[in-house]
């Protein structure tokens, strides 16, 4: 145990010592009063004696305890756990940047030791201080994009809280380490961590900008989407992604549900299933899917009804309205796209349209993940040198002192007991005899 403001503890000890000294110094004077019939009190002598030992030991004990408790409370005690050589902070990435949450769970549990802290990260970071191992067993993948910056900030804040219990602090990050998890502030935030970082790489899903494992477009031979896919070099294969430009059948849905496959329902004419015709078609200036943006005036004819509850929106118009929606089905996914493909003009020949097609053909939940980090970026993120030393991490601005309310409560209770004991204390008498004494006692 240590104290944040030990001066108050010294003051409390001083007050307790003063109370102890006063109990030795102060002599009890008899309480005096007026009585008209005092003549009937026999004339006697009060033997005034100086007692070496303090009287009212219970009162003395209570007063000393009250002073010490108040001093200790204002000194703000904190409990310091036994210091370990290394304390670990494990960041578990549960965003779509990891392909298998089971792998994240196993890696995280392998790193965690009792007393370590766990940070569950996606676009936000949640710190688990107690029960980290149990929390690691219950990790679930989220649909929010992964970001390393919030996790690094949370790690730095957590390090300030646990620095008192370890000589060094190791930060380990379990993630797919995709480019989409790095933002403009990540490098600066990484520089704030005063040591190397252990990077534990787990499998990541496919890259939305990389060619899918296979893409098949079912439509007319001159279909714009098929043309764009061919122009961007996407392999023609029906193994992973199937784009249906007409009416999707039950077999298509079963195909998607049968594996980790994507069925894209992108009708060449008419609305995707479940979408409603707009009362007043308008024109939107752009459509965005992941990191692909197509800037061109496009007529919006269809709208997602408010009653629809898609798993996520995979593309939006420039004003935020949904342009494509994903639905989970079995192990796979169905994506409905309401972006019209113009039959005239050279839009489908543009690279931006090709990137849009590739983004809309990316597996569900991997938009924005981006490619894996390069070796140089991984080295920069991991850093070099020793682990973060305890002294290199600043203590937190506010330290929780859970003992303070208990100490104050105990001091208050003892003060009340002292009051009751003091009121109930009876006068102490010594022998009476002799002839003229009261004057001595009063003196």
């Amino acid at each position: 145990m240590s104290f944040l403001a030990p001066l108050f503890l010294y003051i409390g000890i001083g007050v307790a010592a003063g109370a102890l000294a006063l109990h030795f110094i102060v002599t009890r004077q008899p309480a005096s009063g007026v009585l008209p019939t005092v003549r009937f009190v026999p004339d006697s002598t009060v033997r005034v004696t100086t007692v070496a030992r303090p009287e009212d030991l219970l009162l003395l004990l209570l007063r000393v305890l009250v002073a010490l408790l108040l001093g200790a409370a204002f000194a703000r005690p904190i409990l310091v756990p036994r210091r370990r050589p290394v304390a670990r902070i494990v960041v578990a990435d549960v965003s779509p940047a990891v392909a298998s949450i089971e792998e994240v769970r196993d890696s995280t549990r392998a790193l965690l030791a009792p007393g370590d802290a766990l940070i569950i990260a996606d676009s936000t970071a949640r710190v688990v201080r107690s029960g980290a191992e149990a929390a690691a067993r219950r990790l679930e993948r989220t649909s929010r994009a992964g970001r390393l910056s919030p996790a690094l900030i949370a790690a730095r804040r957590t390090a300030a809280e646990i620095r008192a219990g370890a000589d060094s602090i190791e930060l380990a990050i379990v993630s797919g380490f995709r480019a989409g998890e790095i933002d403009g502030a990540t490098e600066a935030i990484r520089a704030l961590w005063p040591g190397r970082i252990r990077l534990v790489t787990v499998a990541a899903p496919g890259d939305s900008l990389a060619p899918p494992a296979g893409l098949a477009v079912r439509g007319t031979p001159d279909d714009g989407v098929a043309l764009a896919a061919a122009l961007t070099g996407l392999p023609q294969s029906d193994s992973a992604v199937r784009v249906v430009r007409g009416v999707a059948t039950r077999d298509d849905s079963l195909w998607a549900a049968g594996g980790r496959r994507l069925l894209v329902r992108w009708p060449a004419g008419g609305a995707p299933p479940g979408w409603l015709a707009r009362a007043q078609p308008d024109t939107a200036g752009a459509v965005i899917a992941g990191e692909a943006a197509l800037v061109t005036p496009l007529e919006r004819r269809w709208a997602l009804p408010p009653s629809a509850h898609p798993g996520r929106i995979s593309a939006r118009w420039v004003d935020g309205a949904p342009a494509a929606a994903d639905y989970g089905v079995g192990s796979g996914c169905i994506r409905d796209v309401a972006v019209p493909v113009p039959l005239k003009g050279d839009l489908v020949l543009r690279p931006s349209f090709g990137r849009l097609v590739r983004a809309l053909a990316a597996p569900c939940g991997t938009e924005g993940v981006g490619p894996g980090l390069g070796q140089a970026e991984m080295r920069a993120l991991a850093g070099s040198g020793p682990l973060a030393a305890r002294d290199a991490i600043a203590p937190p601005d506010q330290v929780a002192t859970p003992l303070v309310p208990w100490l104050l409560g105990a001091a208050l209770a003892l003060a009340l007991v002292e009051l009751l004991v003091r009121r109930g204390s009876a006068p102490v008498w010594s022998e009476v005899g002799g002839e003229f004494p009261a004057r001595e006692a009063a003196a």
């Binding site: 005096s32 007026v34 009585l35 008209p36 009190v41 009060v46 009476v432």
Partner: protein, 293 residues
Amino acid sequence: MSIATYAPVLDAVRGIGWPALRRVRSAVPGPHLSVVRGSTAEFVEYRPYRQGDDPRTIDWKLVGRTDRVYVRVSQERAVLPTMLLLDATASLAFPVSTNAKWELARRVAIGLAAVARHRGDPVGLALAHPGGARTIAPRTRRTVLDEMMHALDLAPAGDAPLAPVATDAMRRSARVAIVSDFLGDADALRAAAATFAAAGGELYVVHIVDAGELDPDPRRLLLTDPEQPGLRRPMSPPARVTYLRQFTAWRERLARDWRALGAVYVMLVTGAEPLRRSIRRITNPEVAARPAG
């Protein structure tokens, strides 16, 4: 204190009478039976005419029937001048925080004065106070109570002999009520009262005692006499036992001595009973003869 302050006292004593213990010697018409036989309408007996009798008292019809001269003798009624003697020394200022003894003493005095004046008796007040004795001569006029209330608007203090004031009061009236705690010149006072009682005066002794004197506060260990600051004694548990025994014996002796003089002795304890009952115990000797409480 004004009459409004004493209003509860005046209300409490309403309807209470204070009859004389014996026939009074006064000739002034009043409510009490007089030793004087006169010619009023309250017929008592016939008596043979003696030289010097008023011829108007001769019953001429009886003379005609008996050939002897008789006069009609009737019962006279007279007033009984009453003086209230009040002790205003420091011993009455107890307990210090409430002055309960003094409050009871002056309420009893005003109550007795109101009872006496209501029956038509002249009533006066004699006050023993270190600032000088204050005497209000017995009167029957309505303002006498106001004068007494103003006279009692003081704080008891110091030490003053009661006997000289009592002697003067006893010279002015045939009935004297002494309201005191009798912790002063009790012997001299009793000697003066003995003369008064022997002369046929009616004597009432109201002994004011505080509950704190009967059962002193055990937390007060060193006690001082308010009238004699040099008298300080410790109240230890053994001394307390002795104190209670001696104080009880003194009260019993005091009551016995005063009653031996023919006085009506009543001890009043602060806060022990309603004022109306206290006044009734004083003015009705039969009630007063019973032990208090």
